[in-house]
């Protein structure tokens, strides 16, 4: 559900970028989503397809890059990517001195645009 509001904002970023670039169409959007944001790629895609109808971004491809959250052990210094539900235990040495950072990103990296209208090849 929360992807609806987020995808509305995502579409706006893409359309604004196209206008600033003087382009007529958005072909693709590179999106970075952190693993702790609870944003689901498929859900963003679903809302995007709905919301982008009748806009310059209709039919645009969303390319998702997931930003992992990293667990770091303060005892053995092991680092590994983790996803919820998080584990409090280091996967390498079993220590409980683990800290998790990152995985909070939610941004657009680039927008692929075209000068050609939707009808032209």
């Amino acid at each position: 559900m929360h992807e609806l509001a987020a995808t509305t904002a995502l579409l706006q970023v893409a359309l604004d970028t196209a206008i600033e670039a003087g382009a007529r169409r958005v072909l693709a959007i590179d999106v970075v989503i952190g693993d702790l944001t609870s944003m689901v790629d498929d859900s963003v895609q679903f809302y995007f397809d709905l919301l982008s109808r009748d806009t310059a971004a209709a039919g645009a491809v969303l390319r998702f890059r997931r930003e992992p959250a990293m667990a770091e052990c303060r005892d053995c210094s092991a680092r590994e990517p983790v996803r919820p539900p998080l584990s409090p235990v280091c996967g390498q040495c079993g220590s409980l001195a683990v800290q998790v950072t990152g995985g909070q990103q939610f941004h657009v990296e680039s927008v692929e645009v075209s000068d050609e209208g939707a009808g032209s090849k």
């Binding site: 970023v13 970028t17 600033e20 919820p84 998080l86 939610f106 941004h107 657009v108 990296e109 680039s110």
Partner: protein, 221 residues
Amino acid sequence: MKVPVVSEILKANDQVALENRATFDAHGLTVVNVMASPGAGKTSVILGTIERLPAGIRPGVIEGDIASSIDADRIAARDIAVVQINTGGNCHLDAPMIRSALAHLPLAQLELLFIENVGNLICPANYRLGADLALVIASVPEGHDKPYKYPGMFTAADIVLLNKWDMAGPCEFDVEAFERGVRLVNPEVPIVRLSCRTGEGMSAWLEQLGTRLPAPAGTVR
């Protein structure tokens, strides 16, 4: 043509949050964004806190709910300035909603504003409102695994309250596991064990809040 942008997707919201913050600062207002699951005790914590505020700290409340004014009615019954926001199904408050609500509050007459977010441990963490303090309330009956399942929310917290602490025994609540889960993503955050029913922990929470409040009118330090 590929245009590199590197734009925060929620930047439009964040911009309004900054404007809200400027409005709060202009009125010398301390603002607390209260986030928790449905039923964790957000309204009870707000009311319990307001009852115990030092003289001279005048509170207001913005109530966020998907629908209904049940919580706002509870607040208004105590003669506290309150505005209800119904999000109409949206699962979080956002900064423009807060901006609209501010017009209905006597900001110049308040020192402390609670914003009760929609009950939800997911998306409220992603939407800045312009508050000074992100307060996350967990409650014992929800179970001690919540920080592991919803780490984003606990990462966003400035203070964590563990409410319904009086039920820890019957619920077989593993407080060490809970606190370890919070510390996993937020090592320094204060965690206060609290019961709105018995009042236990309320003074410790008010102490935490007090360090963030402006001094009451007439106080010279």
